[in-house]
Amino acid sequence: METETMERHHPTEALAALALGCLDTEEDAEVRAHVEGCATCRAELRALEETGALLAYAAPDAAPSEGLRARLLAGLPRRRSYAWFERLLERWPRLVPVTAVSAVALAAILGTASLVIPLRGGRTQELLATVQLVRLQATPRMPAASGVILVPPDESGGVLVVAALEELDRSLQYQLWLIENGRRTSGGTFSVAAGGAGRVVIASTRPLTDFDAFGITIEPFGGSPAPTGEKVLGGKLVL
């Protein structure tokens, strides 16, 4: 338990230097060790760090070149949290590449309980057994479309795989909706490749198991705050 006594020495002067990261190595380690066990100094250090960060505003304002944004977005590495999905695809030849899977084949794969059976290794079978699947049903708007949501075991998000969706006009995109008691939250927007296939990492600040259903609608490019277009796929999560 942390103890605070009148005799305790708080390294007040060193805290300011620590906040700016300019203590020498040995003293830096000593002061950090003290801060770890001292709530008073932790609070003081945080306040000094917040103040120190304002110094960045003393630099003259300037903007990077327009091309830097595109370079950043093009170079983003795939999320580590979805390594499970990459492993799954590597070990599941019938889904690699997704764009080569026909709607019929995907429906066959997704529509049977044999999903976890025709696998090579026990490790993959084990992995798949922990992934929850939500099959999305087509609506009359696109009767050939199919899709599935894979909810990973760590509940950190999920992946949507779709097939045979129509290619949309450039002004439109598909938008995934996460539905909880009838309330819809956006799970992200996406477009599909030629042939109508796509694989999308689902954007959610909450576990997908918090939701009871999912739907996909056609929306203006960039998405809408709430559904406005036609529904093309939908499905319920059964726990």
Partner: protein
């Protein structure tokens, strides 16, 4: 307009941790100027500053899931990452390593006198920039100098003491006095 437009920074980081590149794009749009300006001021070279800026946002993307709100605001966390990145690059390049620390301090005074903000500077940022410069200008020159060398030059307090021929204790106490003054004069964000 992005559907994430109104989300606060911590929510954007959560979405980035889940792999949402739209959230990354919006976060970049919010902070690109601040990160780049800091990197440019530390490095003095637009090309190097862009590389540092790219590295900073890549790092944010990779480490978005490790952000802890109880430790620092998102802005402070980001600025700290940006400053370390720029100073590390500065040390590697040694591009300006042969300059006299006293010259750096003079440069800083010039910056305070002539902020040279871009016409596109966001109005809110312009006001906080003005407040920071005003608070810095109120400091005694000796405090401003050590603050400058520590923050933008990445000098340790013993390096500063050696460069300025001052006792170590004086350097530490000047840094503390300067930060306390700024804390008193600047609004919490």
């Amino acid at each position: 307009m992005s559907i994430h437009q109104d989300l606060p920074d911590p929510a954007l980081l959560k979405l980035m941790a889940a792999g949402d590149d739209q959230a990354m794009a919006l976060f970049y749009d919010r902070y690109r100027r601040e990160v780049y300006s800091l990197a440019l001021h530390v490095l003095g070279d637009p090309g190097a500053a862009e590389e540092a800026t790219l590295d900073v946002f890549m790092k944010v993307w990779k480490e978005a899931g490790s952000y802890r709100p109880e430790r620092a605001s998102v802005r402070t966390w980001l600025v700290t990452v940006a400053r370390h990145q720029a100073i590390d690059l500065l040390r590697r390049r040694k591009a300006r390593g042969d300059r006299n620390p006293a010259q750096w301090a003079e440069d800083f005074l010039e910056v305070l006198a002539d902020p040279a903000d871009d016409a596109e500077t966001v109005v809110g940022d312009r006001e906080i920039r003005r407040q920071v410069r005003a608070a810095l200008a109120e400091l005694p020159a000796a405090q401003r100098e050590v603050l400058w060398l520590a923050y933008f030059r990445g000098c340790s307090h013993s390096e500063i003491a050696s460069a300025l021929g001052q006792p170590l204790g004086s350097v530490k106490s000047r840094i503390r006095s300067a930060l306390l003054h700024l804390r008193e004069r600047l609004p919490r964000r």
